[in-house]
Each structure stands twice: as C-alpha cells, then as structure tokens.
Amino acid sequence: MTEPTIDRVTFDELKEAAGADFVIELVDTFLAEAPSMLDALRHSFATHDADVFRRTAHSLKSNANTFGAHALGAMAKALELGGLAPVVAANGQSIEALAQEYARVAAALKELRDA
C-alpha cells in the first residue's frame, strides 16, 4: 500500500472547515450509513439493478473523497463508471475488494475520531 487509507491533508482541511466536533458527527454518520451502502451494492449486483448499483457506487465515491479515503473513492468510481458487466464477469470480486478497503477506512476513521 503506497497510498494512505486516509489522506490526512484532506481530513484536516475538512476538520478545519467544518469544525472538529462536527467531523466526529460526520464520521459517525458515515460509519452508520456505509454498511447499508455495501449491502445495496451487493443486492443490486445480485438483482442486476444497474441504476441502484451506479447510484450507490456514486454515493460511496463522494463520501470516501470527502474524508480523504481516496483509494476507496477510486474503487467506487470504477464501479460507478464500469457498471455491472465487469463486476458480473469477475463474479462480484470488485465489490468484496471495495468492502475490504472500506473496513480499513472505517478503522482509520475511528482512530482519527478518537484521537
């Protein structure tokens, strides 16, 4: 891993612009919402719902970039732009790879939150 899970410059800028207390709230909101977004990705993959798949990947991308989780953001963007076909071809592996990256992001965000 050459790229850090969370880009500290982006995260610190967010803290400075929005306030440290607010960012704690924002991290908690993301940690609460993200698992259902991952579920939505898996479910829309299983049911071949291209719209929900694209929209969910788009949402994840946008949130990941907000916190400086650029690797996660890039993976979500690949899903958003690539659509279902390559994910189906790879038997859903890209979703699971993204879920693993999310787990790292979640751990890093919790650490930053509690710091």
Binding site: A18, V52, S59, S62, T66
Partner: protein
C-alpha cells in the same frame, strides 16, 4: 426576499446521501445562512412549493426524482423557474455538467465542495437573484401582474396582436373644479385612494389598467391574457366601482368633504393589443375603433346624465344577464353612423 448578498439567505439543500447533506448544510450554516434539507427531488419540490427559498443546492444522482428531473420541473413552473440553482455533484463526464447548465442551473460545483469556492459562487448567485427580484419588483410597481407575466413569458417586442376584449374608460366628474377648491396634497391623497379602490375592483374581475392620466383611467379585459367572458368582467367591474365610490362618499361626507362622481364607458370587440412606444420606453396598450368608442361613451355619460354606458356588442354578449336602458342612437365622433348606446341600471348583480 430582499436580503443583501452578504446577509443570510434561506437555502434548500437536496441530497440523498446523509453525509453530503449534513456537510453541505454545516458549511452553509457556518456562512450564516438559514438552511433546510431534503433527501430527494420530490421532497424538495414539495418544500419549494410550500415555502419560499432564495436558492437551491441540488445533487444530481438521487432516487425517486433525480436532479435533472428537478431542473425540468422548475423550468416548467412559473413560480419557481427564476429560483437560482447551484448543482453540487460528483457527476462523471462534462456532458452531464453541460446538461445541468442547459436545463437552467446557474452554476456547478464538484463534490467534495470546496467551502471557499462555495462561498464565492453562492454570493454571486444570490447577488444576481437580488437584482432580478428588484427588477421584478419595479416591474410590478409600474406594470400590472398580467403585463409583467406576459413580458416574462413572451419577452418584449414592439407591435401588437389582434385580440377580442372589452375596454373601459372611467373618470371623475368635475375633477378640475374639485382640485381647484382644495390644496394639491389633498388632491393627490384623493387620487391615490381613488386609484387604489378602482384598481382592486378592476383586478378582481381580470382587468388590467393600461393607462392613468390625471383622474382618468383605461382598463382592458381579455388582454394580454384572454378571459372567458370579458364583457361580463368589465360590466361587473363597473357596477362594483360605483358601489365602492358610494361607500367612499359616505366617508367623505362624514369628513365634511365633497362627494365624488364618476362616469364609465365600455365597448367590446376586436382590437390590437401590444407594446407601443420606442424600444427604450414603451407601454402596454390597446388600439382600435373599439377603444375610441369606449372613450367616447365615457365622455357621453355627462351628456346623457348616466353613470355607466355600454355599446351594442357588449350588451349582446351579456344578453338577459344585464338590465339596461336603451338611450337610442347616438352620433359618435369618428363613426359614420350613429350607434346604439345602452345605460346599465345601477345596483344590479350580474
């Protein structure tokens, strides 16, 4: 809304993603604005139709109703189409951004939104809105709502179109003599009260005042927007104006002031309605024989000692609905043949 661009504005944030919604709301609140939030386009449109906002910050990718659909609905809505919209999205592809702008979005900010950029763009959009609102306010003051709306919809162009409408002329009897017996301040006050009362009566029946000159006014029913029954609108207005003046006279007598009387002439038929003047200064007006006849009928009220005079086409359009007295054929300046003139009986309800 008359907020200064630097003062607080009332904003609506629409985003289906909770993190984005919270963050954008927070950024805007930190800039001192009042912010409401909606989680999709449908909820946002409901809120916009219920309450007034200065600006909408719109996400594009949303379930139920996405941002493109919101932009389309706003453009089709007369009340909302001037609402400035800043799109905040992480849409991929320049084509999508272009589409937002083409659909009427004022600006586009990529997500994550940079707070400094947000402040600058927001300030510019709000300032533009303030100027537009000011312009609309001036237009409202100097034109009627209908003319203002017609201008907004069709734009301004000198020239007219043929319409079927009813025209009314009204003035205060013996106004010059009255004005000479009282200080000018009192005359202005009288005129302001008079116009306020008459404008209310005219507007409540779909009429539009196109001319005010001293104590006289001209109103048209059926242009710029067509009316289902322009003649009935004009005659109902005339009867209401007379009733209103009678009530006003009760007050004047109580205040030891002389009563006022008015005369009204109404004619209907085809005429040309539109903007006349120059490109720099123009007025909405109606022109044609029908208009001249209405003016002559108003003048004839003094000769005939009646209050409301109408022409034959107006009486025919109303049929049995109106009680009139035939005054016979009256020679009218500008008309080769004398015309039938009818006096409308006062105190009736149409």
């Amino acid at each position: 809304m008359r907020e200064n661009a630097t003062g607080p504005a009332r904003l609506l944030v629409v985003d289906d993603n909770k993190v984005n919604r919270l963050l954008l709301t927070r950024s805007l609140e930190l800039q001192g604005h009042r912010v409401a939030a909606a989680e999709n386009g449908r909820v946002a449109l409901d809120m916009l139709r219920r309450e007034s906002y200065d600006l909408l910050l719109l996400d594009m990718e949303m379930p139920e109703m996405d941002g493109f659909q919101v932009l389309e609905q706003l453009a089709a809505d007369l009340q909302l189409r001037d609402l400035p919209v800043i799109v905040t999205s992480s849409l991929e592809g320049i084509a999508n951004v272009v589409r937002c702008i083409e659909l009427g979005a004022e600006d586009y900010l990529p997500k994550p939104v940079n707070p400094v950029l947000l402040k600058a763009r927001l300030g510019a959009s709000l300032e533009k809105k303030r100027l537009r609102d000011q312009q609309k306010e001036w237009m409202r003051r100097f034109a009627t709502r209908e003319v203002a709306q017609d201008l907004q919809e069709s734009g301004f162009a000198l020239g007219g179109k043929r319409v079927h409408a009813a025209v009314m002329f009204a003035d205060i009897r013996g106004f010059t003599a009255l004005a000479e017996t009282q200080p000018p301040e009192e005359t202005i006050e009288l005129l302001n009260t008079y116009y306020t009362l008459m404008f209310d009566a005219i507007a409540s029946h779909g009429g539009v005042v196109t001319l005010m000159a001293g104590d006289g006014l001209m109103a048209v029913f059926g242009a710029p927007l067509p009316l289902p029954d322009p003649c009935a609108g004009a005659v109902r207005t005339a009867l209401e104006m007379i009733e209103t003046i009678e009530l006003f006279n009760v007050e004047r007598v109580a205040a030891d002031k002389p009563q006022i009387r008015i005369g009204i002439g109404i004619a209907s038929g085809e005429m040309v309605a539109g903007y006349a003047g120059t490109n720099e200064r123009a007025t909405y007006t109606c022109i044609g024989d029908t208009v001249n006849l209405a003016s002559r009928l108003e003048a004839h009220t003094k000769v005939a000692a009646r209050t409301i005079l109408i022409d034959d086409p107006t009486r025919t359009a109303l049929g049995d609905r109106v009680e009139v007295e035939l005054l016979g054929q009256v020679p009218i300046r500008g008309k080769a043949e004398p015309v039938d003139v009818f006096s409308v009986n006062l105190g009736q309800k149409l």
